[in-house]
Symmetry: C2
Subunit: 501 residues, 2 copies
């Protein structure tokens, strides 16, 4: 055991990390990334070790904010340091690495240590890599899902709850913002928690935020849903799945999507809000997350099986994800699209797909007979009830219920991208379109993005405007245009396109 003088580093590390001089670490026989038990007075915690040759002098201990606060140390306080045992979950990570199945107690121990920041990046990344290569049995996936649910916050709506989820990868796929008001109009409870963009030009939460605040407490969400039947709020504002958020952080650098983790991540959030019926939208096709229909179907069966195990009735729809849905791409442009669609105008694909999903939910809960759900959804939309409901929700969330599509600011800078050839459009690439919209500033600049005028299968002539790029500044517009000039994302089959301002 060593007694060292505290040196406050005055920065956060994201977890309890301390720094020792290399000689002091040697004295304790501890190495980089080992765990040490540190205490000051009566408070004691486990921290992860970093080493320094001269930043921290011998006899001192550098404390990042988390560690310093946890033990209540001040500059110069005496901190006792000794070797800590590894948490048991490290053994379970090793077990998974070696190819064994983890039981629910083991999965729970890992999730608990993830949330309590007891695992280093090295250990957590190893767990993700092991999960990716070894895969999960359905029991393991259910165990992970339940562990994530149990350690997070729960919201009770005192009633049956319906929900939807799209596994993503398709630009402008804003069906949630139509499904929620359609379904709520029919008296169903749909408390939708949505994510912000991670790598796309807009998440549903980013788009909804154009119309009203999305950052609400659990209590506020309960009151919104009580009064309106539905809501569209940001998942991140409630602590539904803290374990998942932390796992995603180390999945991100290598874009690792272990299937079991993907399933657990989605379904845990549904379970946390008490969902009973869920429709999962699985877009497949060129440029989507999932390339072929068989992989999509396989994933669908897994969602249904996992739902069974955790008490949620799941239906899946495998949809065409080969091109963006809707015309606007970027928060403001998508919000405009949604308001238009609620008035019976706007993108046909967006309306069609949303009515498919809402219809499925009506059939699942028995509001409509099999095969009749879609008609019911279309009728609700046509009647104006969904538009009215959406404005109720916008108001309940603190927005202006009278907002019109033209009230939404876009741009102000813009440039048209025109076709350099004549022919039939073969493919509109989600990834390229997203990249251009992001370069233009979306989702951080809500008014930035793309408005596209064309769809796959459509004939275009040389000089026809394919889409308009919107940006907040000339500089960002130029950057986006540079990409669009090289790879416009709209494929006529070998014909290149050019842009004219």
């Amino acid at each position: 055991m060593l007694k060292l003088k505290a040196k406050s580093l005055k920065i956060e590390a994201g977890k309890a990390i301390v720094i020792l001089h290399r000689d002091d670490a040697e004295e304790l026989s501890v190495h980089m990334s080992d765990r040490v038990l540190i205490s000051c007075g009566k408070k004691s915690i486990t921290a992860i070790l970093d080493l320094s040759d001269d930043g921290i002098g011998k006899g001192h201990i550098g404390l990042f904010d988390e560690a310093r606060k946890d033990i209540g140390a001040k500059e110069g306080s005496i901190v006792k340091v000794k070797v800590a045992e590894k948490p048991a979950s490290v053994q379970f990570i090793k077990k998974k690495l070696d190819g064994s199945e983890l039981n629910s107690k083991e999965m729970e121990a890992i999730v608990k240590d993830v949330v309590n920041e007891n695992l280093s990046d090295v250990e957590l990344s190893t767990f993700v890599a092991a999960s990716y290569i070894r895969g999960y049995s359905m029991n393991e996936t259910a165990a992970l899902t339940n562990a994530i649910v149990n350690i997070g916050e729960h919201i009770d709506f005192g009633d049956h709850v319906v929900d939807k989820h799209c596994i993503g990868g398709v630009a402008a796929n804003r069906t949630t913002m139509l499904v929620v008001p359609i379904v709520a109009s029919a008296g169903l409870k749909m408390p939708k928690t949505s994510s912000r963009s991670i790598t796309s030009p807009a998440g549903t939460a980013d788009t909804m935020e154009v119309l009203c605040p999305v950052n609400h407490s659990v209590k506020k969400i309960q009151s919104i849903v009580k009064s309106s039947g539905g809501c569209i709020v940001w998942t991140g504002a409630v602590n539904l799945a803290p374990a998942d958020d932390k796992i995603i952080r180390v999945r991100h650098p290598l874009s690792l999507d272990p299937q079991g983790m993907l399933l657990a991540s989605i379904m845990a959030k549904k379970k946390s809000v008490g969902s009973d019926y869920v429709v999962i939208d699985i877009p497949v096709g060129k440029g989507a997350k999932i390339g072929d229909i068989n992989t999509g179907k396989d994933l669908a069966h897994k969602f249904i099986e996992l739902g069974d195990k955790i008490g949620i009735k799941v239906d899946c729809i495998v949809t065409d994800g080969s091109a963006p849905i809707g015309n606007g791409i970027g928060p403001a442009l998508e919000a405009k699209d949604v308001l238009n669609a609620l008035k019976g105008e706007g993108s046909k694909e967006l309306v069609d797909k949303s009515c498919d999903i809402a219809g499925k939910l009506f059939e699942m809960v028995g509001k409509a007979k099999e095969g009749k759900g879609r008609e019911m959804a279309i009728e609700i939309l046509r009647s104006g009830k969904a538009d009215k409901k959406m404005r109720e929700i916008i108001k309940a969330q603190g927005g202006n219920p009278k907002i019109k599509p033209d009230d939404i600011k876009i741009g102000p800078e813009k440039v048209d991208v025109k076709s350099k050839g004549t022919g039939k459009i073969k493919h509109i690439d989600n990834k390229t379109i997203s990249r251009i919209a992001k370069t233009a500033g979306a989702p951080k600049d809500k008014s930035a993005g793309i408005y596209k005028y064309v769809n796959v299968g459509q004939e275009v002539h040389i000089g026809d405007v394919l889409y308009t790029i919107y940006a907040k500044s000339k500089e960002k517009l130029k950057e986006a245009l540079e990409i669009a000039s090289k790879t416009p994302g709209v494929d006529l089959g070998g014909v290149i396109l050019e842009e004219i301002e």
Copy 2:
């Protein structure tokens, strides 16, 4: 691109890490652990991103020492920050994760990015986990070995070079310190680079350091070997395999030993010093690193095959690793043992095993006929030539060539551990004995450790002294004794033992 004000954090991070405020990171669309290109004036580097909510204010960038020095920024300097592309090696890590074989160019790219600190802990750990689960083909192992060799320092001795290596796990296995002088006495060149302890009570470098300095430059090593024919120096003082050192750092927390990495790690260091003939000692048995002889044999064949591929003639010996070799455990106690053995006294097993290894080397280079190498080694030892040679080496490395076993300080605190029963010793456990010696202070306290008086198969009576624990302080002695009281590490088959001071 953002322009931010530099804030020096005045600590090292081990690699180029910078901290941004969460809002600035969002503005740039970058996430925790992403890479950013930072520049100040004309200097620019890639750094790994950390995020802060309030430790680093908006508009500022927190710079750990490495990043600050690399771009030559001062407190308040303007630092330009933009998104950096991931290095190509991240793709290759993903490829390995997905089960494909890496070619030598890909392996080289990974090793280069490891040495240049271009990979985050998350990425490097993922590579280790992927290597562990997927395994390596012999081509991949050879590619990794060559990549590690090519990026590190080389030492040329202008002659054939012989070497030995033990894969470890057996306490007090100090054969190197006998093999080097025996072999060098016969005119062979044996420039041995050895490691310090990582998890054991002593590495060969720690033990040799009791007799003379082991921290020498490449030039000095060349001159020692030129004058004495051999040396025993610390690997860490020369930059032979910097890539390996960095990989080992993330292997340590989960004790991951992917076989391909183990092979590459060992053989790269041999290749770097120009070894032509190498004997690998693979101890197997209860309590050793490798439990059964078949696994040991399999590993032996891999060493031989890898040697073939990289131009080193390898012979392997699979040895009994079920109990400590020699009597002393801990740097000073082991050094004493070695000096005694060189005088023809001391542990019979240590002498036997060392002569086996030296004899093998004699046969490999043609100094002795097949089956006659061991005799030659024994004769050299018996003649006093090896003792004389060792003292030549000690002198060349800067130590006292006249040192006697009794000159070596041990303790000063000590306690005898006695047998509580009567019977035949069934097992002496390497791990337990090592743990007690480490708790007593070894290898940091060079004079601490264990001296054991008994061997497996020996009859002991109640009250017989099994071993003495030595420590620098009463406190450490007490801690070690506490463990020895519960688990003495000497197994009579169910009889427990007690200690009497």
